[in-house]
Amino acid sequence: MRYHTPATFEDASAIAAATSGVTRFLAGGTDVLVQMRADIVTPDDLIDIKHIPGVKDVVLEDDGCWRIGAAVAGAELTAHAGLCADWPGVVEGMGLVGSTQVQGRATLIGNLCNGSPAADSVPGLAAAGAEVSVVGPKGARQVKVEDIPAGPGRTTLAKGEVIAGVYLPPRGKRGGDAYLRFIPRTEMDIAVVGCAVNLRVDGDKITEARVVLGAVAPTIVVVADAAKALIGSTLDAAALDALAAAASAACRPINDKRGTIAFRTDVAGVLARRAAKIAYDRARGAK
């Protein structure tokens, strides 16, 4: 295995594009090293992007957009007061990934590129309308977060493409987001179901909403019907019922060692209700 420490994303991309073998990018390493240890993946080229300037930045741009570098660890996000105030749901999704130790290394982009439908940080990012900047042999492009996953363990990134950063849109006024997941323990598990809700209110009325489910289909699911159930409502009982029904209806889960189809379908509705209430309270809160 060759270990590379490129100084730019263009160089990182070029190394990945030029090799004929198995390539992995290394940021936090909390998935890659596990896969290497378990002989699931043995890269021929491992490209450590942490030597690239800017990868540890969390920056509030002039337009209100947040730019988060590719190697910012979960613990650095949860310690960032400004980001937590704007996007608590995004941060709590990332904060649920693994242990304190894993939080010291794991990154948003790593969680996204691992391609797991159960990735805890991805529904929150998608609900927020986040985009990522992709650097590849054909240049750079911006891609919506929900367009990156292609199925369990797979992404839509082309050979040689690497994600350089995440962009969260300006929070704006009266917005709130939340992420909840279900696991059988309190910590250290993969989501059996995850649900992120991001919304905006005008007074008590919801004017914008996005609802995204995790672990109930081969990729995360942006549930338009669930958002529709919220928009225009004051999160009354009927809206919550419609939300839960839409969330459950959007599930295409499997039976596996972590949960059953029936369980995931039910609990998706339960979490949607609960996450919506938190997001709604946050949107109407002091902020």
Binding site: A38, P184, T186, M188, K257, R258, A262, F263, D266
Partner: protein, 746 residues
């Protein structure tokens, strides 16, 4: 063995001094299995079957051996033939012969100059398999048409007509069962199932082995019992036990799972072939796939009860698979099933069944938690049906001194009644509960064990004492031994050093298992150091010129005593020790026996849970363990055993399970998916130490290690019922199962 049991007036027993190995273990200095290195050492890696059941047609290691730095490959062909019984089982489990019997079964191993190279080489060993039909569920394995795993291997006990996967059959009982059920106002019968769980010790198996062509070898290994390792390894390799010296490392947990061998004979075989020391360390996934989890079980229980709560009759049938080898713990499971109760008529039936799973190993009170899950769940259901208090009903029927035990003998002095009374009186039992919360109780039993024990004690020139025991210190037993030696000799705790001796230094010792270390090694320690004080009294008598009968040992000194002893100032152990070279030579004590006065330990647990009715998620809110310790030598470590047992039982009840796919492969081979409780899953675990002295130990000790894992399975099930109104008769009570039950109830 007549013992002069002392139960009060202790100076050191019952105190909580720092453990002697504490500093080593908080500074990273303590050396565990994987912490040993030897000059010229190679690294060994196992090749394991990816199939649940497959004929091994050919193994081609030529590509691996062609790698520079690869020094040896072994297969079953490198082990002797002709072994029988359990020796053959162990050899076969360590290295498959003609057939791979479970996912993860070792089929070959390679040694190379680095671990990375050995891993690479292992991947290059080509094994040609013919996949065979498999079965992993115990009930399926007994059905007609299930693949026969070892046809013709069943023993004489199995009646005609049963599936060849049934290896052993047990049936026993007493009393008139039919009359008992006829006398009952309520008879209930249910079927319960428990899934296999793993001991989950955090330290994977590791050893460093050296074996020469002359058949002489040494091994460093993390184990609960190095004499067992020596015997099993020697048998598997066809060498004499005396030629193999085994030194135990510090051990990072065992819970029964480190009382047998897996990699050790293979490391020795690699070393013999390569002519160099070989280190083998399992990965976590190897630990889960290919060491010794528990049996899974399927249990029918039927009980009869009068309206006032009197139990009239009980019948249990246990079906347990212990992997592809016999010896699932049906015996102890049946013995424990009704041990808590004085029931006039009981009947037990057990089936030991093969399945394509790893060979089960002991796990903390082997068999008892499964039995308790069935029995104690049913007792709870019957108390509910008859509107009886579950603890008072248990007390009403409780086994006590003189009760004919469900498994035959008459109980000596035991402490179940005392634990039940303490539980009833505990504030936890009367504390208020909130919505969706419920309380469960259950009792449990483990009979404990004595076993072969050999201990030496040696007096130092300054009056300090070295005690050498053969039971590895897995949870503070050095402290317990030092306390007992200090008490018996009347010298400060700090003046006793306890060593865990290797197999070359003592007679045979059984492992730290069966809750026996504090009982049996403790008993032997006391008797060994008493020989020192007896000898010291003789030296003092000689010095004073008086008969030894006129000298007593008290507070660490020889003192004249009695009307004709004369007036002499006491001689301290230090003064006598300083002179011992000139007064007769070195002084030591030694005691060896197979003590059998281990008293069983009963426990009663109380647990409060809250069940989320929308997700089936169960959180444990409060937990109290009440258990009889006989006498708590070091109460902090007794509490630790209670708490650790409860935590493991909670894990077994709620989330731990072996999950096999339709292909017979284990699906959860990492801690991410084999869900043992994490710190945030549990509350503080309150403990009440009941002390009903064991007449079979000089200080009244009962083993406390195992009983604690037994009540949690039913106690949590009973609490879930109280909280959510649903009865789960299958473990684990994972959220999907609880939610499905809630939905089914409507």
């Amino acid at each position: 063995m007549p013992l002069d049991t002392k139960t009060t007036g202790f100076k050191y027993i019952g105190t909580r001094p720092d453990r002697p190995d504490g500093i080593d273990k908080v500074t990273g200095k303590a050396r565990y299995g994987a912490d040993a290195y030897a000059p010229g050492m190679l690294h060994g890696v196992m090749v394991r079957s990816p199939h649940a059941h497959a004929k091994i047609k050919n193994i081609d290691a030529s590509k691996a051996l062609a790698l520079k730095g690869v020094k040896a490959v072994v297969t079953r062909a490198d082990f002797p033939t002709g072994l029988e019984g359990e020796d053959w089982n162990i050899q076969e489990n360590c290295m498959a012969g003609e057939v791979a019997l479970y996912d993860g079964h070792a089929v070959a191993a390679v040694a190379a100059t680095s671990l990375l190279l050995a891993r690479e080489a292992a991947k290059l060993i080509e094994v040609d398999y013919e996949v065979l039909p498999h079965v992993t569920d115990v009930d399926e394995a007994m059905k007609p048409g299930a693949p026969a795993i070892r046809a013709g291997a069943a023993d004489y006990s199995v009646p005609e007509g049963l599936h060849p996967n049934v290896m052993r059959y047990i049936e026993y009982g007493h009393g008139d069962l039919e009359a008992g059920f006829a006398a009952a106002d309520l008879v209930m019968e249910n079927t319960y199932k428990t899934e296999a769980t793993h001991q989950g010790y955090i330290e994977p198996h590791a050893c460093l082995a050296q074996l020469g062509a002359d058949g002489k070898g040494e091994m460093w290994v993390c184990t609960q019992g190095h004499w067992f390792v020596r015997r099993m390894s020697a048998a598997a390799l066809g060498i004499d036990v005396a030629n193999l010296r085994v030194t135990p490392s510090e051990i990072g947990g065992g819970f029964g799972g480190k009382t047998t061998v897996f990699i050790e004979p293979v490391a020795l075989a690699l070393s013999r072939k390569a002519g160099k020391p070989v280190k083998m360390v399992m990965t976590r996934s190897e630990v889960l796939r290919a060491t010794g989890p528990t049996s899974s079980s399927s249990i029918d229980v039927k009980m009869g009860m009068k309206k006032d709560g009197t139990m009239t009759a009980a019948k249990v049938t246990m079906r347990m698979q212990g992997g592809a080898f016999p010896m699932a713990p049906i015996d102890s499971a049946l013995d424990c099933a009704f041990s808590c109760y004085n029931i006039p008529a009981v009947h037990h039936e057990g089936y030991d069944v093969l399945a394509n799973r790893p060979k089960q190993a002991a796990y903390r009170a082997p068999g008892s938690p499964m039995a308790a899950f069935a029995t104690e769940s049913l007792v709870d259901e019957m108390c509910r049906a008859l509107k009886l208090d579950p603890l008072k009903t248990r007390l009403q029927n409780a086994s006590r001194e003189g009760t004919k035990a469900s498994f035959g003998p008459t109980f000596p002095r035991i402490g179940l009644v005392e634990t039940l009374e303490a539980a009833i009186a505990h504030p936890h039992y009367a504390a208020p509960l909130g919505p969706n919360q419920g309380r469960g109780v259950a009792s449990g039993y483990w009979m404990n064990w004595g076993g072969e024990t050999s201990v030496s004690a040696a007096l130092g020139e300054d009056g300090s004492v070295t005690v050498s025991v053969g039971t590895p210190d897995i949870g503070g037993s050095r402290a317990s031994m030092a306390l007992m030696a200090a008490e018996a000799l009347g010298i400060p705790y700090e003046n006793v050093r306890v060593n865990i001796a290797d197999t070359g230094s003592l007679g045979v010792n059984e492992p730290t298992h069966g809750s026996r270390a504090t009982y049996a090694s403790g008993l032997a320690t006391i008797e060994a150091v008493k020989q020192i004080s007896t000898k010291l009294c003789q030296r003092a008598a000689d010095k004073w010129g008086i008969p030894v009968e006129a000298v007593i040992w008290e507070d660490g000194s020889a003192k004249p005593s009695g009307p004709n002893a004369g007036e002499f100032p006491p001689l301290t152990i230090g003064e006598l020790a300083a002179e011992m070279g000139g007064t007769g030579g070195p002084i030591s004590g030694h005691f060896e026996a197979t003590p059998s006065g281990h008293g069983g330990s009963f426990g009663t647990h109380i647990v409060d849970v809250e069940v989320d009715p929308e997700t089936g998620y169960t959180s444990v809110l409060r937990y109290t363990v009440v258990q009889d310790a006989g006498k708590a030598i070091h109460p902090a470590y007794v509490e630790g055993q209670f708490q650790g047992g409860a935590a493991q039982g909670i894990g077994w009840a709620l989330n731990e399970e072996y999950i096999y796919g339709a292909d017979g492969r284990l699906q959860n081979t990492v801690f991410l998916d084999y869900r043992i409780p994490v710190a945030s899953d549990l509350p503080m675990i309150d403990t009440v130490i009941v002390e009903v002295p064991n007449p079979g130990h000089p200080y009244g000790v009962r083993g406390v290690g195992e009983t604690g894992i037994t009540p949690p399975l039913p106690a949590v099930a009973n609490a879930v019922h109280a909280a959510a109104g649903v009865r789960l008769r299958s473990l684990p009570m994972s959220p999907p199962r609880i939610l499905a039950a809630i939905k089914a109830k409507g």
